[in-house]
């Protein structure tokens, strides 16, 4: 059985934020919520790297472990989904998640957050597949349409990989074997020459 995974190739990510925009557009995500975002470390310094982050669909998901109403479930292909009908917006999953994936649409003086929203790996939710109700609550269900998450499919540098974990791991391995690590990355010597020799 295929296990769905995301993998961001930090050597290729150019921080264009197209994955973020595509996700918001595809699922008509409410204001204030980003299911996916690009994180940059060492911004403007040597060794700068960007990585596109969303729900990583953990094998032993901490969000599911802390949920008091047990609204999370994992599908047979390893996608962590949740039911917005059961969610009470307590925020425990937000604190438990190491990636900051769970987001809430509201903020108020009385702490009402609304129903939690997060990346669904473009796999919808507990409503029937490819129905308006499912779309309204969880966004489009591309997996049921025989496609993969749009963020990965439209990544211009093909930095963001999504799909069967075994296959995308093999793809990443091929890239690393070919280009090497860090400044040994493919194209580096062409673009920047050998800085140590200069």
């Amino acid at each position: 059985m295929a296990r769905m995974k995301f993998l961001c190739d930090a050597e290729r990510c150019i921080e264009c934020n197209a994955c973020v925009t595509a996700c918001k557009n595809e699922h008509e995500v409410p204001w204030g919520i980003n299911r996916r975002r690009v994180v940059t470390i060492k911004d403007g310094e040597p060794g700068e790297r960007s990585i596109s982050m969303a729900c990583m669909h953990c094998t032993d998901a901490p969000c599911a472990a802390v949920c008091p109403v047990d609204c999370f479930y994992t599908t047979a292909d390893g996608v962590v989904l949740h039911s917005k009908d059961l969610c009470i917006g307590c925020g425990y999953c937000f604190y438990a998640c190491p990636f900051g994936a769970p987001q809430y649409p509201q903020t108020s003086n009385f702490g009402s957050r609304g129903k939690m929203d997060k990346c669904t790996f473009c796999a919808g939710g507990p409503e029937d597949d490819i129905t308006p109700v499912e779309y309204q609550k969880y966004g489009s269900n591309r997996l049921a349409e025989g496609k993969l998450p749009l963020c990965a499919e439209m990544c211009s540098t093909k930095a963001l990989l999504a799909g069967d974990g075994d296959i995308i791991a093999a793809i990443y391995k091929e890239r690393v074997v070919k280009r090497g690590y860090g400044t040994g990355a493919w194209g580096w010597s062409v673009a920047y020459k050998d800085s140590s020799a200069a």
């Binding site: 597949d129 129905t131 109700v133 990989l161 799909g163």
Partner: protein, 70 residues
Amino acid sequence: MASEKSGKDAVGTGRRGFLRVLGTTAAGAAVAVPLVAAGPAEAKESEADRVKARYKETDHVKTYYRTNRY
């Protein structure tokens, strides 16, 4: 005098009764509206359908894998 007073009371009570009826009707309508607006029950997947594998290795997906090898 007494009959006049009782007549005034009757008018006052009648007015209050009208307001009471109005209030009850409004409250009833408020309760009924969400029930009507909810409409038919939403379709839900069964327990087995919820956790079924959604991924399919279609030609579309194979093309994605192929182009990512470049």
